[in-house]
Symmetry: C2
Subunit: 149 residues, 2 copies
DNA sequence: TTTACTGCAAAGGGTTTGCAACATG
DNA sequence: CATGTTGCAAACCCTTTGCAGTAAA
């Protein structure tokens, strides 16, 4: 990642937070930078381990604030611990997840555009029939990762 | 559902449990019948509410046993409470889920076979590149259900 | 008669919150 | 200075487990 991209990211986050009358504090900036640096979704335990200067309660609160500002996305994998990553709104990419049922690790994955479109069409069609308003779709591939195989 | 179908279901479950040297007790039969009767995945709280004769610990234990026997499927939705349904191995159908981000309710949904195949192809292809062994895929549509709209 | 199952109550673990002090607009 | 934010510790909630008794193969 380029430094310039990092600045654009922070500017974007700052804007999104201001919309909700919330502040882009040093702690939140550190958290966003950490999530940006890590290449996969991580649990709060992993985030605290990566930066012990954060307090647990503030971490949870900041993740909640950032989630509400569409900066962070919360994932519920195979185990009970939630995992967090930067939201697609902020990173610009669209991806799905490989979830290891053995260790709970989540990796990002991208699928062909044709598949995305097919899913999208089927989704909207099926959901509309039920009066369900879809916001987004989530495709997860459950299996075993290389280290657990 | 026909009574005959219910019997076939119970026979199937009994067989699957025997494979793991486990017993199809009255409590488990009641639980399977309850999951069969309910048309959507439900939380343990809802299951206990639907049949207060079950004890909480036995419910959790039996759900775990039935999950391991591929009779029950555990879903982790948008909120923290897990939801349970009969596994596709037992019901014979293949479906995905509409998850309401407002109330957490999960509804079943089926998508066109062509979409299933496209997803399956993309999945295997992308996962293989990462050395990831896929067991199954999970497509979830997040949005707002009719009662929460 | 050995092994699995049940119920109760207590513990566990991830997440949230009350409160007082602090920092920011 | 009014409002948002932080850290600590305690509370919370869903889930799991120890144990002693019961039922099934």
């Amino acid at each position: 990642m380029s430094p310039a991209m990092g600045i654009a990211l922070h500017d974007d986050v700052a804007t999104r937070l201001r919309r909700g009358r919330q502040r882009y504090t040093p702690a939140r900036r550190t958290l966003v930078a950490l999530l940006h640096r890590l290449d996969r979704p991580h649990t709060t335990a992993e985030l605290l381990d990566a930066d012990p200067s954060m307090s647990q309660s503030s971490l949870y609160r900041n993740l909640a604030v950032l989630e509400q500002a569409d900066v962070v996305r919360r994932l519920t994998g195979s185990d009970d611990a939630a995992r967090f990553e930067l939201a697609e709104d902020v990173t610009g990419d669209h991806h799905h997840h490989l979830v290891c049922t053995a260790c709970g690790t989540i990796e990002d994955i991208e699928v062909a555009q044709a598949v995305e479109e097919a899913m999208h069409d089927a989704i909207d069609h099926a959901a509309d029939e039920r009066g369900f308003t879809t916001e987004l779709h989530r495709l997860e591939l459950l299996g075993t990762c290389t280290t657990c195989a």
